[in-house]
């Protein structure tokens, strides 16, 4: 169907090195071929060559011959291949020509001049095939990421192309939306015999669906094609399940969780004896001294922050650290027990090994312990009541007006502090959101969200697209003003703090790191960052050199790769030395190598005492570095607990290793490796 004959593509002058070279490749009809390789090896170029956009649209020189369905792309322009090849780029929004779903689906057919009844029928079929029927009249701008991607795929499907070319179709999607899209692709390949050529960084999502994998090892090197298991055996990029297979020495390598699970019995027995503590050393360590769960005390404190009593609550609960510590982890166990994860008792901190029953008592103790400080009259009860008790406490604290009517034991506390929060704020809390609500117009983006971030802690915010992750990050840096509740970062209210001061307390790397870059060169960018942050000249450049070796001052930020640009943005916001660092979707578009560099950097920052909050869809990343996972849904916190507890139980958010080795609490290959 697709045939590359000795193809090489060169951009720029004659002397330039070819981006891809020596490509001899045949893709038979009806195959799903996955194109893998590190960033910048020319995957997109190769995909573009199939649709004729390379070189007709992008420029550059293509040598050799590419034929699709017998048509030579040299003589056929992209528009003349439009009935044969459907192309979906990385950003679906940039793909759309019209304004509503139905028009978009019809656009390609209109261009091809299909008869109106045919168009109508195919649009209806495609709406059903991709599950878009309810969205048919919706403006494209109002769709979520997964819906957009499905519409984009649908829009190229309606002309019934024989070949579908997809560039990173699931990179920007949450796990569930990615599943949707992949299910559609599966269906196309199986039911319609469509040939699919796809490039994707997130191999863990797609490799098991591929009939064949084409590996581009390095720029300008010829590709290696073969069965997925064979190629994965030596691929520099590989999903965790393959890495686990390599570690365990399985052959053929497993590609899916199911394959691996069926083999893993032996490994599980070997690991059963291993010290689970080892996992904690290398993996998502639960900091023993930092409460892994929003301890009831902390939560009540956060609730009380609405009143001036907040700073005072902490000192009161502080004098009794041992019970505080216990009830914290006890509550953690209870909370996750409620979500059904008691299968992984070793996941929690030191005390978390307790069986659900003991956890219950710990939780009870915790409640009674905190009751005295906040005045919640919730006596010890069954463990299941613990979560309910905490909200009650918060509600009480929030209703300041009412509290005058009731002689709360804790009421004396507000009187104690007249001093501004600045001086008295608890240094062990970097950021705190209490009953935070945010509205965008009529939409309630966040509702009653509580979050506490402590130094040295890494928190992963997860949840589907549009769940409010970015909004929560935005409200922590003052981009979004809360509609209700409070946010405190370093003792200040972010949206009322002048930006120049706020950068010293909190930094956010937005989803598109490019948004932070204005200057023409890396050097100028660094100099500007130093002035912005009021840091000594050269501070930013030092950080850049540490994060990003070998980038010259004169480089234009636009010429950096996705990972390099992220590192530059990170360096810029770190120049002001903020104790709290927020990252929005940091691994979007990063290959495994760039990702592991990022993980190293973030671990280093956490070890220095930075608090890190990252919003991510990347469950593997969360498993690797997060101490705590907070799951948002519809603007509410639906789970908050140690990574192992939250993530292992969830079918959507569990990393592959957890799925393979469940019920054991291993999350990453590195943990397993250390344990073996």
């Amino acid at each position: 169907m697709i045939c590359f004959e000795n193809v090489s593509v060169t951009y720029g002058g004659a002397g330039a090195a070819p981006t891809v070279a020596g490509v001899d490749l045949t893709v038979p009809e009806g195959e799903l071929v996955l194109l893998v390789g590190p960033s910048g090896v020319g995957k997109s170029t190769l995909l573009g060559a199939v649709s004729g956009l390379v070189p007709h649209f992008t420029g550059g020189t293509l040598r050799g011959r590419v034929t699709v369905g017998g048509r030579d792309t040299r003589t056929h322009r992209p528009r003349e291949l439009a009935d044969l090849v459907g192309t979906v780029g990385q950003d679906p929004l940039a793909h759309f020509v019209t304004d509503t779903v139905e028009d978009e689906l019809a656009y390609g057919m209109e261009s091809l001049g299909l008869a109106p009844p045919v168009m109508r029928r195919r649009v209806e079929e495609t709406l059903d095939l991709l599950g878009l029927a309810e969205l048919r009249d919706r403006p494209l701008a109002t769709l979520s990421g997964g819906q957009r991607q499905r519409v984009a795929i649908g829009s190229v499907l309606t002309p019934h192309p024989k070949v579908l070319v997809l560039d990173e179709p699931t990179s920007a999607l949450d796990p569930a939306a990615a599943e949707e899209v992949l299910a559609v692709l599966q269906r196309l390949v199986h039911d319609l015999g469509t040939t699919v050529l796809m490039a994707e960084h997130r191999l863990e999502r797609v490799v098991q669906y591929a009939d064949r994998v084409v590996l581009l090892p390095a720029p300008g090197e010829p590709p290696v094609a073969g069965a997925p298991a064979d190629v994965m055996a030596f691929s520099p990029v590989r999903p965790p399940v393959v890495a686990l297979g390599r570690l365990a020495g399985w052959s053929p390598l497993p590609l899916s969780v199911r394959d691996a699970r069926r083999r893993a019995g032996d490994l599980r027995t070997r690991l059963a004896g291993a010290d689970a503590g080892a996992a904690r050393r290398t993996g998502p360590a639960v900091h023993p001294k930092d409460a892994p769960w929003c301890a009831p005390g902390a939560r009540d404190g956060s609730g009380a922050r609405a009143t001036p009593s907040a700073p005072a609550t902490s000192p009161v609960s502080a004098p009794a650290p041992p019970p505080g510590g216990t009830d914290a982890s006890g509550a953690g166990a209870t909370g996750t027990g409620a979500t059904g994860t008691d299968a992984s008792p070793t996941g929690t901190g030191g005390t978390g090994t307790a069986a659900p029953g003991t956890a219950g008592t710990a939780g009870t103790a915790g409640t009674t312990g905190t009751a005295s400080t906040t005045g919640t009259a919730a006596p010890g009860g069954p463990a299941s009541r613990t979560p309910a008790a905490a909200p009650r406490g918060r509600r009480a604290a929030g209703k300041r007006g009412l509290s005058a009517l009731f002689p709360w034991p804790g009421r004396g506390l507000p009187a104690r502090d007249g001093a501004p929060d600045e001086e008295t704020h608890d240094p062990t809390v970097l950021a705190q959101a209490a009953r935070l609500g945010v509205r965008h117009g009529r939409v309630e983006a966040l509702r009653r969200v509580d979050l506490v971030v402590r130094p040295g802690e890494t928190v992963a915010l997860m949840g589907r697209n549009g769940a409010g992750k970015s909004t929560l990050l935005g409200s922590l840096v003052g981009l979004v003003a809360p509609a209700s509740g409070t946010v405190r970062v370093g003792g200040r209210t972010p949206h009322r703090t002048p930006p120049a001061e706020l950068v010293r307390r909190v930094a956010l790397v937005p989803q598109e790191p490019r948004d932070l870059l204005y200057a023409d060169t890396v050097g100028a960018e660094c100099a500007a960052a130093d002035t912005d942050a009021g840091a000594a000249p050269g501070t930013c450049r030092e950080i850049v050199s540490a994060l990003l070796a070998g980038v010259a001052d004169a480089t234009h930020p636009r010429d950096l790769s996705e990972g390099q640009r992220l590192a530059l943005a990170l360096a810029i916001v770190l120049t002001a030395r903020p104790p709290l660092l927020l990252l929005d979707e940091p691994t979007r578009g990063l290959d495994y190598a760039a990702k592991s560099r990022l993980v190293t950097v973030l671990r280093g920052l956490a070890a220095e005492g930075h608090g890190i909050v990252l919003a991510t869809h990347d469950v593997e990343l969360a498993a690797e570095i997060a101490d705590r996972v907070v799951v948002l849904a519809g603007g509410e916190v639906v789970a908050d607990g140690p990574t192992a507890d939250v993530v292992v139980s969830s079918p959507a958010f569990a990393p592959q290793i957890a799925k393979v080795l469940a019920p054991q609490p291993w999350l990453t290959v590195a943990q397993v490796e250390a344990a073996l």
Binding site: L53, E80, A82, D103, E110, A115, R120, A141
Partner: protein, 454 residues
């Protein structure tokens, strides 16, 4: 039993509001102009001869059956069956969806009709009535789309026009001879060469009233256009352009979707400045993010261009060179004719040949466009249909205009209330009744769905 009545009245002028797809099917995948042209007469004559009576009636059978009432008179029954949107709730307008969406052109004809009527009168009561009619229709039939919100802007623009007209009248004086002096402003002495221009001086009540009437007329015109803008989907309107102008239409549509994206970019980048510790507001912020915004827009347009190219934009049919050349000649010649004709019309000595040349040029240009459309292979997906409701909407506007023009003949005094002997304007009965006809769309146009509550 219900099969017979449906297929029987072939000549019955039952308006086929929503002919199901099969009725429109016979158009093969031909040129784009053909199915369009074919459909219109169908509407005009009240329904195509049914291509497959049995099949269609069979498909429809359950529907009337569930309606309950037996087909006592075949004509009545078939009208109900054909008039399906009306059938459910008697004569109430149906909820709007894609299939019964009113043709954007109908709204424009209606609004232009009202505007034409407004241009014929200076009676503030009639003008107010026109504004009220347009406003009411907009209020009950507009959607929740961004362009629908433009109505308010047009109303404000209209008020601004009135205000400006009044200010000019006060400052620059007016040739209206008036006796009731409101105030006398100091008059600025002007040199001789500026004779005829006056700054300041007497301000009379008559002149103010005249300016008010005049401004109100202009404001009403604007508000009528605003109503069309708010009611008709501009993208759909562009889709109704002839094939040869399709490219221009797409360019406009893409530009329309770009503008909001660019605004979003600006907002995002401005807030991102906060992250660098710089203030988000101020002129400097806008200047600094200008470059990234433009870069982003450029990148996006390149991406859209690539996507359009890969999806077959710009595929053309092969047409014989003779046709191509004829097209060029017709369009160019026609446009020249239009220019020459308009010149002739405006110049005093060419009045004789002006009109014929203009019309000839127009015809030639339109012929060229039609011929040029044959290069287009593209077809149209679910174009808005010009159904009976569109006729009613467009017709109501046209009738308002025609009646108002007629009224100008029989009641000129009522349409242009006197200013110089200042009179209280009266509301002439028949013209007012004519204006009220413009309310028809509020009852026949499909009702847009209520906005989602969230």
């Amino acid at each position: 039993m219900s099969r017979r009545p449906v297929s029987a009245p072939a000549g019955e002028p039952a308006p086929q509001a929503d002919v199901p797809a099969p009725a429109d099917v016979p158009a093969p995948a031909g040129g784009s102009a053909r199915p369009h042209g074919e459909r219109r007469p169908g509407r005009l004559l009240g329904g195509l001869p049914d291509p497959g009576p049995a099949g269609r009636a069979g498909g429809r059978e359950p529907e009337p059956g569930s309606g309950g009432s037996p087909p006592d008179a075949s004509g009545r029954y078939s009208r109900r069956a054909a008039h399906r949107p009306v059938a459910g709730g008697g004569l109430r307008a149906p909820g709007a969806d894609r299939s019964n969406a009113l043709h954007a052109g109908a709204w424009w004809v209606w609004a232009l009709g009202l505007a034409a009527a407004a241009s014929r009168t200076t009676n503030p009561l009639l003008l107010g009535l026109l504004v009220a009619v347009a406003g009411y229709v907009v209020a009950v039939r507009r959607t929740d789309s961004p362009w629908a919100r433009s109505y308010g802007a047009f109303v404000k623009l209209g008020l601004a026009v009135v205000a400006v007209r009044l200010v000019f009248s006060v400052v620059l004086g007016s040739p209206i001879p008036g006796t009731r002096v409101l105030v006398t402003l100091p008059e600025a002495p002007l040199p001789d060469w500026a004779q005829g221009i006056r700054i300041g001086g007497r301000v009379t009540l008559e002149q103010m009233v005249f300016a008010l009437y005049d401004g109100a007329k202009l404001a009403t015109l604007l508000i009528c256009l605003g109503a069309a803008n708010a009611l008709a989907n501009p993208a759909r309107l562009l889709k109704s352009l002839p094939g040869a102008l399709y490219e221009a239409g797409v360019a406009v549509v893409v530009a329309m979707t770009f503008a909001p994206n660019m605004v979003a970019d600006v907002l995002r980048l401005r807030t991102a400045r906060r992250l660098r510790g710089r203030p988000a507001g101020g002129v400097r912020a806008v200047l600094q993010i200008g470059m990234p915004v433009l870069e982003g827009a450029l990148e996006r347009s390149v991406a859209v261009a690539a996507s359009m190219d890969a999806r077959g934009y710009g595929r053309t049919a092969r047409v014989p060179p003779a046709v191509r050349h004829t097209t060029t000649a017709l369009v160019l010649g026609g446009l020249l004719g239009v220019c020459a004709g308009s010149y002739g019309l405006l110049a005093t000595e060419g009045a004789g040949y002006g009109l014929p040349v203009l019309l000839g040029g127009l015809a030639a240009a339109l012929g060229g466009l039609w011929l040029g459309g044959r290069r287009q292979v593209r077809t149209r997906y679910r174009p808005d249909r010009w159904g009976p409701r569109a006729w009613l909407v467009a017709g109501s506007g046209a009738v308002v205009a025609v009646l108002m023009i007629r009224a100008e003949a029989y009641a000129p005094g009522a349409l242009h209330p006197g200013v110089v002997p200042l009179t209280v304007p009266a509301l002439p009965l028949w013209p007012a009744a004519a204006v009220l006809l413009g309310l028809l769309p509020a009852f026949v146009a499909p009702v847009p769905p209520k906005e989602p509550s969230s």
